[in-house]
Subunit: 111 residues, 2 copies
Amino acid sequence: MHAFDILGDPVRRRILELLATGEHSSGDVVTVVQREFGITQSAVSQQLRILRDAGFASVRADGTRRIYAVEPARLREVDDWLDRFRAFWLPRLDALATEVARGKRKRRHQT
Amino acid sequence: MHAFDILGDPVRRRILELLATGEHSSGDVVTVVQREFGITQSAVSQQLRILRDAGFASVRADGTRRIYAVEPARLREVDDWLDRFRAFWLPRLDALATEVARGKRKRRHQT
DNA sequence: CGCTAATATTAGCAATAGCTAATATTGAAG
DNA sequence: CTTCAATATTAGCTATTGCTAATATTAGCG
């Protein structure tokens, strides 16, 4: 499934924003999302599963808790896709910045 | 409408990829998308309208032709949203790269 | 004008996505 | 080994989305 299909949902985006700040238990995520979107625990759990299955998040058990963390690879795909548009808002990188940008791009698909 | 909602469709993404390489007439877009997705002119035109309405593309008339161009602002939104995850794949920018990255970020929301 | 080419619009249909309600699973603690 | 708390799963409903087919619009040209 394409990265953008996953990011097309506001609940999933919100969950990822939350995970961007650090690990969180399923319960934590439910609390926040429930407050902001007014949906059930079930709905949040389903979205967490979608994020897992799509490789945007990983889980580990901590007793009866499930601790979720963001998995950056799929988000890098989005960043890579944007490369083709960067020329529009970075019309001319000077030599130095170009080097850095190149280095950054090369480093991709390694980790 | 959120940028990601627009980018969640493969036809729309393909159209934007096409426009990233330069301006194209509606007909050009139809030809390419039709070949790759097998959908009608109508469907493509509807997607072009969605891209226009959402601010991802602009049009100008050239006789009976409509020439489409990519409008980068909405794509920058996506780039901005990704900022919160960049720390995951750029764990430590050296001083130089940091300067460049900062400059880049500051320049946003100006144009 | 009347015709044609290029494009846009509309109505209606079908597939999918995301939700709720109900239920299942799993681990810890008494 | 039962009970409770945390989380996941399933079935089924509904709203939305993207499509086709048909039709409308507009510009250029004879």
